[in-house]
Symmetry: C2
Subunit: 342 residues, 2 copies
Amino acid sequence: VVALTGPVTVGIDLGGTKVLGVAVDAAGTVVADIRAETPRPTGIARDDAATTAEVIAGVADRLIDDFGPFLPPRGPVPLGVGLPGLVDKGGRLHSAPHLPWAATTDFTAMLRARLPHCTLVADNDATAAAVAEAEMGAAQAASCTVVLTIGTGIGGGLVMGGKVVRGAHGFAAEIGHMVIDPHGPDCPCGRRGCWELYASGSGLGRLAQEALEEGRLTGVLAEEPRRSGDIPGAEVTQAALRGDIPARELLADVAGWLALGLANLVAVLDPSFVVVGGGLIAAGDLLLGPARVALEELLEAGGRRPSVPLVAAVTGERAGAIGAAINARSVLAGPVPATSIP
Amino acid sequence: VVALTGPVTVGIDLGGTKVLGVAVDAAGTVVADIRAETPRPTGIARDDAATTAEVIAGVADRLIDDFGPFLPPRGPVPLGVGLPGLVDKGGRLHSAPHLPWAATTDFTAMLRARLPHCTLVADNDATAAAVAEAEMGAAQAASCTVVLTIGTGIGGGLVMGGKVVRGAHGFAAEIGHMVIDPHGPDCPCGRRGCWELYASGSGLGRLAQEALEEGRLTGVLAEEPRRSGDIPGAEVTQAALRGDIPARELLADVAGWLALGLANLVAVLDPSFVVVGGGLIAAGDLLLGPARVALEELLEAGGRRPSVPLVAAVTGERAGAIGAAINARSVLAGPVPATSIP
């Protein structure tokens, strides 16, 4: 018997490879999580959107069934969803670089139609992660901070006065698509040289691949037989953690690019610190150590101003789903009762 | 006889070539302005700081003498100052790329010592300009906007919920030093490829000079006899306004760079619109027209999201001084009385 602080809300994070659902009680405890595979796109927009909606709805309904007695007692079930793209304040997904179908389908409307028993609160996935960090993680009570989620790409959320700030339309902190090199490689978003092409898991893989093709790569990454274009960032991170020097150098290169974009964010926002989460922080201080040094060097008047600490996120890979569940609380009328449910 | 809405506060803007002081009444009317030349640096930090403080104090004391009866009746005289660099929330100037003496001198303390009869409120000059635009200009009641001041460089101020936001230390919106090309030219701030090297008056002059040296420049700018390195941006703007096509093309190039940095700001902040002020907007729609087109193209999911209007600032070249005078009101205890003084 687990003691829950009710009511429970459900949050779901749509990722590139998996759909992750969590049930979170009013105290912020994750009382369950469920994973499902993200459907592979077929290229037919409406079908891809529908099968993705079906998987999300399946995960939602399993959690709703399991936690029925602990959900808010009246009205539709609050359901938070984190989506990887531009989500407006009404929850509509306008665009997602890695979901080609998002531009031509009103995915949120489709989800709402599939889940008529729920009240859906959709948010950008990284903004939802920032909600989790602001509510129960490293960004609690921060006067001004940015929460980075570094995985395949870079997402972000702004926290000011302890609250997540979403901008005029809900699109704030799309920081992965800051252009940091106008002569850089093409980005799926349609531009060139976006930050997430460099300072991310895919950026790490790309740098490794370039080094391999140019004959500069040594160590375990070079010894592994592989086809072109397929060094995953996670493999570089694992090699670095096991002590491989060339892999560590690649991480340091990524850390330099990370610092370049961070210096721009600091120039714009002057945060008291920056929270870094997402899969790439598995590399720990092999990434954050050189990033801290490079950031200090890149800051305007670095050394004559307070340094900007880089702090690791604490809510882990479930941050987006947890934040989505917290977002769902906004549906509840009045304050959430904090009574304990046995 | 001018009808003043008292009390009057005094604000001073320290620029690269001139010191501008204004007296502003409680209704926001500028009731006087005074100009003096910014002293040319000798290279001896303490002397340069002292002579600059002397000029500022002279301008302040003339306005204080002239408006004595209309100043707040009790206590030290509130005095706002706008400074071109990193100013913390206590008013200390930490660094200013174009004032080499700023890094080694506590200029604010020096000013305070020279003006013991005043309570000094120091702010970044562009942040002060944003205060003016938020209080009485184009940024009034804006939910989220950026106020750009484009002159020799680029300064900025963030406005959220109708208020200027200064970040954790007071250094927010140092947007001219976002790096937009890591392979770009050296910046006086110590880094490379800062935005203000491209999308500013000096950027315009630099592009013109490059075109001249590479034999690409035609029209009136090429005909004028000149030494190397000395096409001022204002001359290009004037030629463009008189119809010179090559000058207009240079402005369009600058507009493209302007849009690149703006797209990054939009990615981070999602403003409802952007306010553009400073000397370079003398070019009007010759600058803002192509900048609007380029921004729309550069925005993530441009065409599938609301466009971000570029709005001209309204407080003009005195924006920084006016904002400094408004900042000075913070010294007054309680609300500013709005009684009319004959």
